[in-house]
Symmetry: none
Amino acid sequence: MSVSLRKARTIIRKTLEKGREMELKPLSVVVLDAGGHVQAFEREDGASPGRFGIAQGKAYGSIMLGLPGSAQKARADEQAYFMIAMNGVYDGKVVPVPGGILMRDRKGVIIGAVGVTGDTSDNDVIAGLAGIAAAGLTGDA
Amino acid sequence: MSVSLRKARTIIRKTLEKGREMELKPLSVVVLDAGGHVQAFEREDGASPGRFGIAQGKAYGSIMLGLPGSAQKARADEQAYFMIAMNGVYDGKVVPVPGGILMRDRKGVIIGAVGVTGDTSDNDVIAGLAGIAAAGLTGDA
Amino acid sequence: MSVSLRKARTIIRKTLEKGREMELKPLSVVVLDAGGHVQAFEREDGASPGRFGIAQGKAYGSIMLGLPGSAQKARADEQAYFMIAMNGVYDGKVVPVPGGILMRDRKGVIIGAVGVTGDTSDNDVIAGLAGIAAAGLTGDA
Amino acid sequence: MSVSLRKARTIIRKTLEKGREMELKPLSVVVLDAGGHVQAFEREDGASPGRFGIAQGKAYGSIMLGLPGSAQKARADEQAYFMIAMNGVYDGKVVPVPGGILMRDRKGVIIGAVGVTGDTSDNDVIAGLAGIAAAGLTGDA
């Protein structure tokens, strides 16, 4: 099972709406499937050009390691070189900070991940969780 | 000048609608800005997981070289090693076949590119041009 | 849905057994999940050391493109530079010859891929299909 | 001399059995030959998809540097940038934590390495050493 394009669109739209409501800086949001492959992405006007890579890195690392961004950050805080090594293992596509959010089905199986970037990592998470909830799914940030 | 997210959304939706109308295989569509950076992307359900890379490669090569996919294909047909070298120069992100479409403003300045993949290259182009036209822009395929 | 480790083991063992029965050169066999990630791999004694990469490339390209090795070979035969570009897009992990075999569930959804290398591409396919059949699955070579 | 596929299978099976006996999280285990090339690999059901890269990185760094994971970790703890540089030198395939285990013959010559990942690094080592011992070899963790 993976997230449908329809749900991915809802997640992205509602994440961006939440960002506008909170008056955050321009956000970029990616939705990856359970294998870490890009399903949908949007970058708001005014965001810096390289935001796709950050959004992807937050979500891709979450999928590859089975750990959301906050757990990756905790590991990086205590053993930075390990998360740096993970970035090497996964070809530069691991960004170990909050904003990488896992999505699970009712049995707890990971069905995809969302990556949000643009404001503070904590605000990125709030917006992303709102988007995931709007699609009827539960996020693990 | 670059394409707004609003226009990018229109381009993607209308490209996908055209694909459904033509009964094409599931499509994937990326919109890049004038610097070749990802603005928006959607992959239809049923498409193979790696379609982001192909869509990006069609559009990114078009931006980097200032040549749409059909011109790249013509060059590849007569001098394959040159386009293969371009693929190396741009880190594997050049896919020299139709489906990479440049977008220009009224003065002819390139403001972005669209990459479409999923059906035959020629059908990918028809769908992409329909999407670009629906956003009030002119595509150079 | 993806292939379980138990099925992956059966596929590999039966592929290798078929290879011994046919008196093929030492084989190497990888099983990837639906996202293209390695589930299991074995390299027979006497095989050259780099066989993991070839087995992976045959199977990974099949997953990413949704096309088995023989279809990739047909494309490469008529438009070599396209498949070379695919190798660039997917970081050198596309080997477009027979021996990359897709596995589908009853609804036709791709649930993984097998990559076999060591003998002629055609013999690699025969052995791989025998392994997949032994696991109760259908291979699309 | 290198580890035979038969021994590699025993190592992997017994490592996984030890993990089940200890009730560890799902494990992934790779066996590399004396040149650092993949001989065999298995990922248990429920493990995150990217575990091959971590298992490989633990074992590959051990082979390339002639140092098991715990010695690499000691070096990383006192001079993180050095082990980060090693990750770059070896194309992202060095993961400097316990779980990379060298195997030696009776004369002390390195004949391969095992990489285990999935639980805590210390538990990964316990399981891996059990697997190596079951194959009649001595592990240097």
